[in-house]
């Protein structure tokens, strides 16, 4: 097969100078910094100081000094999607990785709701987030029609990741899911889990976790025994 560059042999490719690319990045960062500062002031005025982000790569908790471990979602430059045996309830449903979403591509028939952060965890592979986010998904099928999806989203900054995770919890709870007691996603690392009965009487469980500007969401829809 041809070398990929040969595809565009003799074709004028429209690319700006590197300096222009850097200038765009700088302008965007300045706008974001301004937005974060304004939001921070508003939150402080509302007395929400305990949950304020303190920077993209810094985590502080009141009265404690947090360590900053390595990114659990990305190692050696590669996103770490769950292996099938790492998906919750593997012992029950015996997950296997699936190439495609179980049904459809974002159709109303998709068995899994789409509670991912900001709608970033689309059902259609490969999922793509809006500007400012990059997402990765993997699908799994298990016994008795059980299905699961693991989604990792990288946002441009920690404040956005926190906000999206908070919204995710709100969406889940407005959809009838309830936080697992003592595990409501309000922990510093965004760890949380929700469960509830969805259409068809099946149980949907959602697990979240955050590290800096990264968010992980795992959805598990139980199978129907004897199906």
């Amino acid at each position: 097969m041809a070398e990929v560059e040969e595809l565009l042999d003799g074709v004028a490719v429209r690319l700006p100078a590197a300096e222009e690319i850097r200038a765009r990045g700088r302008r965007r960062s300045r706008r974001r910094t301004t937005t974060v500062v304004v939001c921070t002031v508003v939150l402080m005025a509302a007395g929400a100081w305990a949950v304020l982000p303190t920077g993209a790569d810094q985590r502080h908790r009141r009265g404690t000094v947090a360590t900053t471990p390595d990114n659990p979602f990305r190692k050696d430059g590669l996103v770490q999607m769950m292996r099938a045996d790492e998906v919750p309830l593997h012992g029950t449903w015996h997950w296997k990785e699936d190439e495609q979403p179980t049904t459809g591509a974002g159709s109303q028939e998709d068995p899994l709701p789409n509670p991912g952060p900001g709608g970033a965890c689309a059902q259609t592979p490969p999922p793509v987030g809006a500007a400012g986010e990059t997402s990765y998904s993997r699908w799994y099928t298990g016994r008795d029609g059980a299905v699961a999806q693991h989604c990792i989203v990288e946002y441009d900054d920690e404040a956005t990741a926190r906000e999206q995770l908070r919204k995710t919890g709100d969406v889940l709870e407005s959809g009838g899911l309830r936080p697992t007691p003592g595990d409501s996603g309000k922990a510093e690392d965004g760890s949380g889990s929700w469960a509830g009965t969805v259409e068809g009487g099946r149980t949907l469980r959602v697990f979240t976790r955050r590290w800096n500007s990264w968010v992980s969401v795992t959805e598990v829809l139980d199978g129907v025994r004897g199906s």
Partner: protein, 172 residues
């Protein structure tokens, strides 16, 4: 000693056009490929220290560019479908006939199959790396490649048969 922006500029200069070609091969739309690649490099510059520290930034930039392009391309395709229109494929001035044929053949594949074919066969990435970049298992990539090769084989056979008939008529 090179500074951060000198490193970035050198990286951009060395990799950008090849990346545009890669994304173009996946989506078949040069304008979208150019936009997606530019956006991916802007995002890369915003986190350049981290990317450079982690090793080769290219897989990250490539993944972002392809995902952005697929997203845009899908939206555009859906708009077209929604209006029940079948527009002509994107014209790329100066693209040679055999390159058009190759892009046309790739167009027979699903977007997931195209991504696998382009990364594995055009960029020579091992299956394991294709899987990591696509966020799927090695087995899924092998399945996509197998199905893609079958479709491409059939498409090529049809092309040869069609060319033979045309040639036969011409010389007959």
């Amino acid at each position: 000693m090179p500074t951060g922006h000198e490193d970035f500029d050198a990286f951009y200069t060395a990799t950008a056009k090849r990346l545009v070609a890669t994304v173009y091969a996946v989506t078949g739309d040069l304008a979208e490929a150019e936009d997606a690649v530019q956006e991916a490099y802007v995002r890369a510059w915003q986190r350049w220290d981290r990317l450079a520290r982690d090793g080769d930034p290219l897989p990250w930039v490539r993944t972002v560019a392809i995902r952005l392009a697929i997203s845009t391309w899908r939206r555009a395709r859906n708009r077209v479908r929604a209006h029940f229109r079948h527009g002509p494929p994107t014209e790329v001035p100066g693209l040679s006939v055999d390159r058009v044929a190759l892009v046309g053949a790739l167009g027979e594949l699903s977007i997931e199959q195209r991504q696998a074919v382009v990364l594995h066969h055009l960029l020579d990435l091992p299956v394991e790396e294709v899987a990591r970049e696509a966020g799927v298992s090695n087995g899924a990539v092998r399945t996509r490649l197998h199905r893609a090769r079958k479709i491409l084989g059939e498409r090529l056979a049809e092309t040869i048969v069609t060319a033979g008939r045309v040639e036969g008529v011409h010389h007959g």
